[in-house]
Symmetry: C2
Subunit: 482 residues, 2 copies
């Protein structure tokens, strides 16, 4: 197991350490670079994250489906921009058993081509629209950059991709806003701060009309893309010749959007909320929300009383819908158990010993602030419920405060470069809107563009592009990016 | 969409028809043979099936994990028997982007090799045993036989594979029994009848010491393998050199079992319970357990009253934990809606019209027997709950009665052959235990061996092998198999 690392000062190594030490994801043993194993505890976190996004998508009328992994070459290559964007990173199956395949099969890097092809059979009339599908699957990208656990994988194991079909462009615009709203609620529930940018033309999804992205900042100050929403226009349906009948009985190509999330969401939860002791999980995705650690009694009589007392507390909490675990392990000290559950990020710990049985109390410790206090037994449930709420809110607020300190404005290239090299985070500069100046800014600051806000911000009025000096029409955000 | 077919007389075509007509699985459009799409309604059935097996496995201490899909050639080939069994049906990834890969990667046909390799890092001492893992994933087999939806796929999309590790052989034997017990409870909940056989030596899992299989019979009388349990002994751990420390501090290879279920479970649910009108879903896996079809009122006043009345009934049922859908679609007749929900196999239909509002009644129709009756409004919830129970039990009993009629004994080759060609199903004959006679029986009856019961049955005592005439030591089961 990797050596313990400090969150604040050694972030990338802290991340590798905590993933394995807390039993989340085994990254170091699998003999193919960029692929790992979800371990039992990590898998439970992953399940709670996927259940949350499923709930938000189901509530907004999205329907879950499951599409094939293998995409024949002729489908994969039909939309020209799309394959140009992906050809360097597609894995190809070329052999079946002992035979060479007649048609090469791509491992899905994403499923726009498959969805569009299937829509040609499913959708015939505007009456069936909008149609909103999603799936949660593995996708594969032959990454040539250095891989990172959950952040840059060759097998992305938790890829949520949504695909929607519409009768006109206006409805795709409405859908993009709905997708943004769903993602906002998703990240808010998880306490992950974000900034929403329209990616520049030179960094949009291959095949999209435009791309909106959610970015957050990791503890090392580098920006991480954690969600994208694409307006695909009719690009794919033209390539696949997929038309529907409109109200006036004419035929037109379907309009589409697609939007995705990945394992990076879980990387962000872990990285942003964690600390030197390990994970700090938001209660909504904590497999165990409350762990009870018994403080051993000296006599058998007291031990029996303690057991009854603890099981009573646990039962009461479970009846309130709280995920509770009582750690009855023998042969390890309470101190060892504290350490273990802190590493695993359990939001609330109850310590209960013979003295608590006598006094009718329980000791309540919260993982985020490490504060500890004693409360009356009869107030235990209420205290825990309030505490779980409070921890959720407080993690979110702390993360946003921290994040905001990492989003800064600059007026000159020099200032932008200085912030990006010293403090990192995201820097926003006035921009004339020309690609040439955007690319120049990337070069001069040694950073990457995230894009512009959805609406030009007030503060750029009267400001000038720091590269060409022309009046700014919007702002441009830059960051060192994962 | 395929033409409607009759369950009883045109089963294989009925199955293709119902999958698409009921919106379960799109099998006819994807351009790669043996791969299809789970549609929204089918996906919901699939989810309920996977939730059931997850619950049963979690309750018995199994832990869910997620292993990589891609297996490097050197892992895939390390256990000699295993790769011999699978080499004709493994898909290989040979290209990444525009490059030839240095190491070919197999798409998992199953994960024994990966699990064993990872266990070499995870498991060090007998104190960690037994360790019980499972995952639910897609597996890939380059089938050369004719493919069939959900039955013989090239992408098996719902493969539940469990993998366990033990300190000695006795514990693997205990685990095999636990696995059999879990599968029994699983199939019993689904109302799927089964027969449990020990597969003959010549048809065991590649790499196993022995294989136990669950088979059922499909409406055309052919047997379908729906679950397998393998005792792997030390075969894989020897090949991968995976040892643990025992209580006496010596080292020994770990002992293993593995067991699996697939999409075939869903094929069996659909095929065995269905009828000429379409699906008949057991309530436990019905996405909608009760559909309410409003019978339209003539006046606005009556329509408003009807709406309140129906929403009241729906709310009451939902509060009892029942999955309810009210079909408020406009522009289609109640008759059309009946047809539609019968096709989709919804267990209970309530019909509620203005007359019911006036009389304080609801009309209750059950999908399995198509019986209909009127009950008082205040008895609605109780009636529905009882009915759902009754439907579950009655589907199970009907299926078992039907299944038992398909399991027959024969004393001679001639009799076995006659039953297998006329009536099909499963035929059990006395057997001397020799492979030669078993294979001869397959040849003479033009059927395949399922194997022998776990214990030699009473009735073979004194009987003789119909091939060689030697005294029978057990029985052998034969069937036309999928």
């Amino acid at each position: 197991m990797a050596e313990r690392r400090r969150w604040s000062e050694e972030y990338p190594r802290w991340f590798d350490w905590v993933l394995e030490a807390a039993g989340v994801y085994d990254w170091s043993h699998y003999p193919v670079k960029g692929m790992g194993v979800w371990l039992p505890y990590g898998y439970k976190i992953r399940r709670l994250v996927t259940e949350l996004i499923r709930r938000l998508l189901d509530e907004t009328g999205h329907e879950e489906i499951l599409l094939p992994l293998l995409i024949p070459e002729h489908l994969m290559k039909r939309e020209a921009e799309h394959i140009k964007g992906f050809e360097a990173e597609v894995y190809w199956v070329t052999r079946g058993g002992l035979h060479e395949l007649d048609v090469k099969l791509a491992l899905r890097p994403t499923s726009e081509t498959v969805v569009t092809y299937m829509e040609s059979f499913w959708l015939k009339s505007y009456k069936q629209l909008p149609a909103k599908y999603y799936q949660i699957v593995s996708i594969f990208r032959y990454e040539t950059k250095a891989t990172r656990p959950l952040i840059r994988l060759r097998e992305v194991t938790t890829f949520k991709e949504a695909h929607t079909a519409h009768a006109d462009f206006e409805d795709t615009e409405r859908q993009v806003l709905e997708a943004i709203d769903v993602y906002k609620r998703f990240f808010d529930e998880l306490g992950i701060p974000y900034i929403i940018s329209r990616r520049p033309e030179w960094d949009k999804f291959a095949g999209a009309v435009y791309t909106i992205a959610f970015d957050t900042v990791m503890p090392d100050g580098k920006a991480l893309q954690i969600g994208t929403v694409h307006n695909l226009g009719q690009n794919f349906t033209r390539a696949f010749d997929v038309k529907i009948q409109l109200p006036d009985e004419t035929l037109d190509y379907i309009w589409q959007t697609s939007y995705g999330l990945s394992d990076r969401v879980i990387a962000a939860i872990i990285s942003i909320h964690g600390d030197d002791r390990g994970l700090v999980l938001p209660p909504i995705v904590a497999p165990i929300q409350v762990v009870i650690v018994p403080i051993p009694a000296k006599s058998e009589e007291d031990e029996r009383k303690l057991r009854d007392y603890i099981e009573g507390v646990a039962k009461e909490l479970r009846e309130k819908g709280i995920r509770v675990h009582v750690d009855w392990r023998q042969g390890v000290t309470p101190g060892y158990k504290f350490y273990d559950w802190e590493l695993k990020g359990v939001p609330v710990r109850l310590e209960i010993g013979p003295r608590d049985v006598r006094n009718g109390t329980v000791v309540v410790a919260r993982r985020d602030t490490l504060e500890k206090r004693t409360v009356k037994r009869e107030e235990a449930s209420e205290t825990v419920l309030r505490l779980l709420d409070d921890i959720s809110r407080s993690l979110r607020e702390r993360a946003w405060r921290w994040f905001r300190s990492y989003v800064n404005r600059a007026e000159t290239v020099e200032e932008a470069r200085r912030i990006l090299s010293e403090k990192r985070g995201i820097v926003e500069v006035p921009w004339c809107g020309r690609e040439e100046c955007g690319r120049k800014l990337e070069e001069l600051t040694d950073a990457k563009v995230l894009g512009s806000p959805l609406q030009p911000p007030e503060w750029v009025r009267g400001a000038r592009c720091p590269v060409c000096g022309a009046p700014a029409v919007t702002s441009l955000r830059l960051a060192k990016r994962y």
